[in-house]
Symmetry: C2
Subunit: 553 residues, 2 copies
């Protein structure tokens, strides 16, 4: 597999057109058949691979920062009679297991980002399904707030994965059909067994789409509906976007560097050592200062870099199973940036930055890598950056200082700030602190009472904010063992363990999609009935029927 780069911009798109007209944007999918990321398949009928979805991800992201004036986004197809055939089957059939799973995770995150824009930024997505939408094509529509289907006797919506490929819809389809659109479960069952899908009035009656519109009225109806949604959006008007300037990045075999984030790739130990730097300059005083800095504002810089790094490591470095997380800088300045964002929360840009940080931290939560935070002198695990330690599976905080390396240093401190107490919920709807202290109200209250106060290792351990607080004598050995031991365990069992432990308590549609549906899909992807030489995924399009082991598991 090539090293995949997630950075792109509208000028480089091969598969999508982004057109902005006043407060309405149109995202037109028109996949280049020969534009696959990897050789070996053709992206016919608006089917997609990771490369297509990277552009969609970029467009959804830019709309929020560069086009805050947009209040409604239409997703439609540039092809005749086909909206999208979903994920490319030959690509899936030829991909190794970890590639398939990682691909589905990313596409799920982008669908989630579409819903997040609708719910939290008043950028309402409308699917104008102007042809057949199959599998992932229909799932893309499901991520939109409103689905219009052209009623021409041939255009249908369908989830043909089960009957044709012996897998599940991989982008949240099963969960959204029942939990978001409230399709009755027995109708949903029937629907998912019909490769030809459901058309027109029946699709509306079953709640699979919101309206079916005859071809003659199509253009007018779509415009009307879009105007409707745009006029009802709560988004502020007369705002000026900021440009998401190109992300500077250097990548070698053993290091990935950005301006505020660095990762050392240690292939021998199977570890990525990630360091996030705090701000180098003071926080601006007000919203005007924030807008002046734009894409150079530290929180946005750091979030963009961390987001790109997570995607890069996940896709390109599957054997780096442990990510060690460090921070470096001044905690007070980090909190200043946090507090500016919170004070200006009614400003669209401040709000978008916090929402983006929220999405990036959620990406970390669903990353199938062991996360170990190391809290050392000189670090700045405070507020927004404390979330990294709270997202980790374990944290080690040095008690005292390194007597040899820096006897004069101040001992490490951590500080809970306002950003830890609400604005950055996980997918389960709880903050990372609430999840950590799930069922332990007293523990949570004790931490909240100390918010704003720098805490040294003993206090942090006592309050349950860090896992262990070894001193200089034990530090090296304890940390080394933790990291080495992690590398000795089964990667699969670790993935399952972490996916369960990270989400204590309540579930949401989002955790159901990432935790439950994904696990079933992973299992099915791995079964010979789908992926074996005689499985349905491998035999699709060969004219040969799949051979199934009929035992029910």
């Amino acid at each position: 597999m090539p090293v995949v780069d997630f950075r792109t911009s509208p000028g480089q798109y091969r598969h999508w057109q982004l057109a902005v007209d006043g407060d309405v944007a149109t995202l037109t999918m028109d996949v280049a058949e020969h534009g696959g990321l990897v050789p070996g398949y053709e992206l016919k009928l608006n089917s997609y691979d990771l490369g297509v979805d990277i552009e969609l991800h970029d467009a959804v992201q830019r709309l929020r920062f560069e086009h805050p004036e947009v209040r409604a986004v239409v997703i439609t197809s540039g092809k005749d009679k086909v909206f999208s055939a979903g994920a490319n089957i030959r690509m899936l059939a030829a991909s190794p297991h970890e590639w398939k799973v990682n691909f589905c995770k990313f596409t799920n995150e982008t669908r989630g980002a579409i819903e997040d824009a609708t719910s939290n930024s008043g950028q309402v997505y409308i699917a104008a399904v102007n042809g057949t939408a199959s599998g992932g094509g229909y799932e893309l529509a499901l991520a939109c707030d409103h689905i219009m289907l052209i009623d021409d006797r041939s255009s249908a919506v369908s989830l043909p994965e089960l009957p044709l490929l012996a897998v599940l819809p991989g982008t949240g389809g099963l969960t959204r059909v029942t939990d978001k659109r409230h399709v009755r479960r027995d109708l949903a069952d029937y629907f998912a067994t019909r490769p030809e899908g459901i058309t027109g009035a029946k699709a509306v009656a079953w709640r699979l789409v919101d309206e079916a519109v005859p071809r003659a009225r199509w253009e007018n109806s779509v415009s009307e509906r879009v105007r409707d949604f745009a006029s009802r959006s709560a988004r502020p008007i007369e705002v000026q976007g900021i440009e998401l300037t190109p992300l500077p990045k250097t990548r070698t075999g053993d290091q990935i560097s950005y301006s505020s984030v660095t990762a050392r790739l240690d292939h021998e130990r199977g570890v990525a050592e990630i360091t996030v730097d705090g701000p180098r300059d003071h926080a601006p005083a007000d919203a005007a200062g924030l807008h002046d800095r734009g894409a150079a504002f530290w929180t946005l810089v750091m979030t963009r870099e961390l987001d790109d790094l997570i995607l890069d490591l996940r896709t390109n470095e599957p054997e780096l199973g442990t990510w060690v997380l460090r921070t470096r800088g001044d905690a007070g300045t980090v909190l200043d940036y946090d507090n500016l964002l919170l004070r200006q929360r009614d400003d669209w840009l401040a709000s978008e930055i916090v929402l983006y940080l929220k999405r990036t931290l959620k990406r970390l939560d669903v990353t199938s890598r062991s996360l170990i935070a190391l809290i050392e002198p000189g670090s700045c695990f405070a507020g927004s950056l404390l979330e990294l330690a709270l997202a980790a599976d374990r944290s080690y905080m040095l008690s005292g200082v390194f007597e040899d390396a820096g006897p004069e240093a101040s001992p490490a401190e951590i500080t809970a700030g306002a950003l830890n107490l609400g604005p950055l919920p996980m997918g389960n709807g709880l903050t990372r602190l609430q999840t950590r202290f799930y069922g332990d109200e007293a523990g949570l209250t004790a931490v909240e009472k100390r918010a704003g106060e720098p805490l040294e290792a003993e206090d942090a351990e006592q309050l349950g904010l860090v896992t262990f607080a070894p001193d200089d004598i034990d530090w090296d050995e304890e940390v080394r063992i933790a990291v080495e031991e992690r590398a000795s365990f089964s990667p699969d069992a670790l993935t399952g363990l972490e996916a369960n432990y990270r989400f204590a308590g309540p579930e949401t549609m989002e955790t159901k999609i990432f935790g439950r549906l994904t696990a079933w899909q992973n299992w099915i992807f791995n079964r010979p009935n789908a992926s074996g030489p005689d499985g349905a995924l491998r035999r699709y399009g060969t004219g040969q029927r799949a051979v199934f082991d009929r035992k029910r598991v």
Copy 2:
């Protein structure tokens, strides 16, 4: 594999002793090393296989019906220094995938039944962990309401599955640790990587157990605690149990028959055709009549038989992938039985019967078989039996009559009754009707308004209570295609589809265990890192280290 029989009784137990003393019962685990269900492994150190758990299941069940006077149940070990080593590893390593998964499902259900007895019947379970409890051994303790650990410097609790076997704890351990016992997630992470486990005071501090008691005070402390719990139980006193008489059953290669439940096994089509008969006699008038009938009371008879059939088919007939569900009898009489149970809900036996029916229907919900209900003339899908149709993935109801076979018959009817409106919740905490109409309050209200009214096919379809209502002309063809088509799909994909669709809406600890944790475990069980020839599960005990593919998925 042998045909497994789930019927047993305390006189036949080889692995457990059940002793009842007043309002306290003691369940002592003392597994017979050479008493494995299948040859090829020894059940050392109170490790268990399906046969051991069948006895536990029977004991938990009998305590509720035969010993309603029991208010506290102690689970302890008859071995020296070991409580239980968990599921037998050689058994797991040698078992095919579907056997492992099915075994875990059953053990999970029995742990759930222990919690159900504690929560709903005031039979409080206490784990007296008088030696090391590893893996499934600790998970058994986790199902209890209170965990006492002997503090002797060697007895520990542990979840060693990940470091030793490269799999997850298979009986809800990861979910209960965080969601039930509120162990902090980073401590839970550390705990699950320590094969030697955690002992004494630290186990208490981390909430892994409720108390650690020195050996010298052990006996007294356990008695004291048990008296404590027994005295606080809300269970009525001075009650007289009923005997769960042996279940008559005949089993041939193509039929399983009980008194009220029959299954035709069609191996060629991969279908089990299950018929449940309604009551043959009138419902008794009052609680005294109910107690007189005891184990012969229709609802209890039907539930016991259905429960046994589900377990039998799941374990012994994995290739029968579709279960067709029919009923036969008088709907009015079914509702009379239901109504008696509801009128007498303060009677312990009436309450136990409804709770048992609830558990049995939940078993159906998590069964990895396609469920298709056929509603024909002469059927009695009303109240308790309507739940079978509501549990099904799809239902077909004949509109009108079979013109050739029974032109004089009355058309089929279904009736929603009081038992459909609350007392039989699914694992997600909602009734099957609420789950069916999740997000459609109007639809649910419309059905509730018609409760008690027999509905013919058109009305039932209109109200959304059945999936399809074909008439005589289309019936045979439509039903045949539905059943044949099901058999043509991938069994794995169907399992995943159904597991997702059956549980719309909220999640509970129970659905997390069955839906999310189980899916991850299934995936891991199926991965070469665990179950391949060089995987950890297969290499355990050989002295050879497992070889892992290090790619993270």
